[in-house]
Symmetry: D2
């Protein structure tokens, strides 16, 4: 990092450690060359103690910050199903997973610095203030110094900030935004951006403008600390690489939001 205070930084984050026993999704080795933060599965939708420790170690080697990526308990559904829970239950299952990630990241010599809710839990935390509050309370109870990584413009971002947590806001590299700033549902045409160059150019525009760009071209101002990219297909990794390259060309330094 230079002394030039004009250098703007932005984080690239990706879900990682998505495996269980003999199974693996995603190419963690490749995506670790691209991102600055990794959200590590904690055993409820993916992840086991072996994979978690390995992922924390690999992230350390690549200088990538790590966070807990808690989820509903749903190995079969990969955490993507909306499983009914009370907010109290959500507090406790999030706390459990943060603790497991803290322990294994310490064991691996690379302690977690953030928490990001996964899948259906993450989506609910964006749209449901009760769930956002539950995730917030879990983080505060276990370790209030952990950063809450939240989807830009959702309940999680606002409620965690009001509760005194450090909050970082993320946008998605490959997902279209609706007029209200929410993500367009995957089943709708145009919801997912497949072209790496289009995705990268859009990300640069959004980060430069400090605003998300909706499908209709509208701009909604928001804080943008991180770009979420994926590693589960070769195409996703290409998008991630292009996003990184384009941001660098535009003068952004890719750096974790964690201190």
């Amino acid at each position: 990092m230079t002394a030039n205070t004009n250098i703007r930084t932005v984080d690239l984050n990706s879900d990682m450690g998505e495996g269980f026993g003999a199974y693996r999704l995603g190419d963690d080795e490749e995506i670790l060359k691209v991102v600055s933060s990794a959200n590590v599965a904690c055993g409820f939708h993916a992840g086991d103690p072996e994979i978690m420790a390995t992922t924390f170690r690999q992230a350390k080697e690549h200088g990538v910050s790590v966070g807990a990526h808690p989820s509903f308990s749903d190995l079969w559904g990969f955490g993507r199903r909306y499983i009914p829970h009370s907010t109290g239950e959500i507090e406790r299952l999030v706390a459990y997973q943060i603790g497991a990630a803290q322990a294994l990241s310490r064991y691996a010599g690379h302690p977690i610095t953030h928490v990001k809710a996964h899948g259906a839990l993450g989506n609910l935390a964006q749209t449901d203030a009760g769930v956002a509050g539950a995730v917030t309370r879990a983080i505060k109870a276990v370790d209030p110094s952990l950063i809450c990584l939240a989807i830009a413009l959702g309940h999680q971002e606002r409620i965690a900030r009001e509760a005194g947590l450090v909050v970082k806001s993320e946008i998605f590299a490959d997902r279209a935004y609706a007029e209200d700033g929410s993500l367009v549902a995957r089943k709708i045409a145009g919801a997912v951006i497949h072209d790496p160059h289009l995705a990268a150019a859009r990300v640069v525009r959004m980060v430069t403008a400090g605003a998300i760009e909706t499908l209709s071209g509208k701009s909604i101002p928001t804080r943008i600390d991180s770009i979420c990219v994926h590693s589960d297909t070769p195409a996703a990794i290409r998008i991630a690489g292009e996003v990184r390259k384009a941001l660098a060309s535009a003068g952004f330094e890719i750096r974790s939001f964690s201190p």
Copy 2:
């Protein structure tokens, strides 16, 4: 606690929070009136985030210290089966569980202060130096201030102490000891003591003498910091109650080994 330095103290510990979802084993409310330390299941042989948080809260109300009670991942076998693992795998599954217990105990306002391995893992840690070392390394890596509660006269006790952990040694209220100081296997006649008064009198003799008593009547000197009692049957709770009463009558104060 009086200023009388002659008052000797001893801890009573029991496994707790042994349930999963709709299921419960043991009568935690009753045993919490008797013991001074609780070993709380962490989700691998028993326990889920709900039960863990509830157990930590109940223990706090009763002034009972709490610890993590990690196990092999064996919900079906209740952690009693010897499931093949490398020592590295044991390190990581123990670390995971300690972390989960730390988080939920902080969430419940009553942080854990010790770790005791459960079932087959605990037995192996007593008899197998490799496993004892793995449990030790996990505790050190996650939080070296945690006390290791170990079976008296086994490898766990020695190896954890050599590694610099604070170690407390436990004997069993209702289990007979063989000539080498190991527990007599349950299938052998006389292995389990069913009479509460016999059990209590034997415990008082052992704690007073600072030695375990073998089936043949031999004495093997050992440090005794805690007595392990059970809560899974009404008979077990009666034994626990008698042990507490007899120890009190003999002048012992029942107090957790945790500061």
Copy 3:
């Protein structure tokens, strides 16, 4: 059974084999003295191969017919949570569980003769025609000779019958009925009948009348082949016993609907 064709018969059914590994709910030995049909958990919300085989054997000894009791895959939530599934997924998870129950019941020498959906799946099959169709298709695909035990007046009953399955209809001994014939939600006052004598008298009235009795006293005619009773508390078993006694006094023979 006598030649007297005036003897009316009715079945009493209860969920059974509700345990997992070291855990048990309900007192199967006691309820087996009361009922004529048992719905046996198949491993998804409760049940493992050991408990299933034991339950089939015990039912055989008591002359109690057995059926599969499939559920959402939800060990933690005991099958009571509405977990999102496509109807295709429901077909396949029901088929899987029926097969497992067929195999273990044959192994135990007492083949299953019916299927009854459990918990949230059973409730959905009553209120959601899509789910009722999925359960129906699973039964037909695996073994169309299996009887479908369905809640009276719901979609499951109608759709399974239209599909050509033999359908038997059940009412609940301890649950109040709303004006539309559906069960009053448990959280509403009066939803659960706790007095064994009131419950038994109501059952006799309903079976005699061939109609369910709503909270307001209205009668809704329905076929009644079986009364569902519970075994999970001593109070539930007392209700079951009273229901049996009252039905016998009123001249009903308690007999399984299975041939």
Copy 4:
């Protein structure tokens, strides 16, 4: 099939349906073009109702016979760990899985015709007469018309045959044999054959001779009904393809042992 009675047939079998939820191992579409029989995971080491039904359907489309591939309950360890069980427990967990596979294969319109034990369970069934007997009793109890596919020269083969089951014997395309006819442990150099042409030539020699070939070149006569090939790596699929080609060139028809 021609009337030429000189045409000799041999089966090629492979494990299939090895996935869980979002996870997949192996390339089932590719291996289905090569083999004549598929051993389908039943949910205990891999497999869920979705994957099972899909695999049965795909096998049907390719004209490939299917069987149940039961395992210890060990999703994390992929059924490769020797988990302690009584022989009675093995009977029941095998019965459960056969039933599940029967139901889903009927649902898919392609009923299973054989059973082959997986991983650690399969290895034990070869070397431990008690386990071989347990697997045998499970098959007989659930459906004695199912063929037992067993490793050549082991206990499973002999005991299942003595019990009256139809037994088919398999050899491995890519594994070296020790002097006693057992498989050389994977950790020993030369245990696994990586060259597709060497593997294929050896298979042709063994099938032609009706004998396995040991590392030292010794011949041990055995019945050979099937060749086990793998699908978990592109290399494994190449070996499978070469084996098929070489057998065809040598005049063998690749055909399932199932009628």
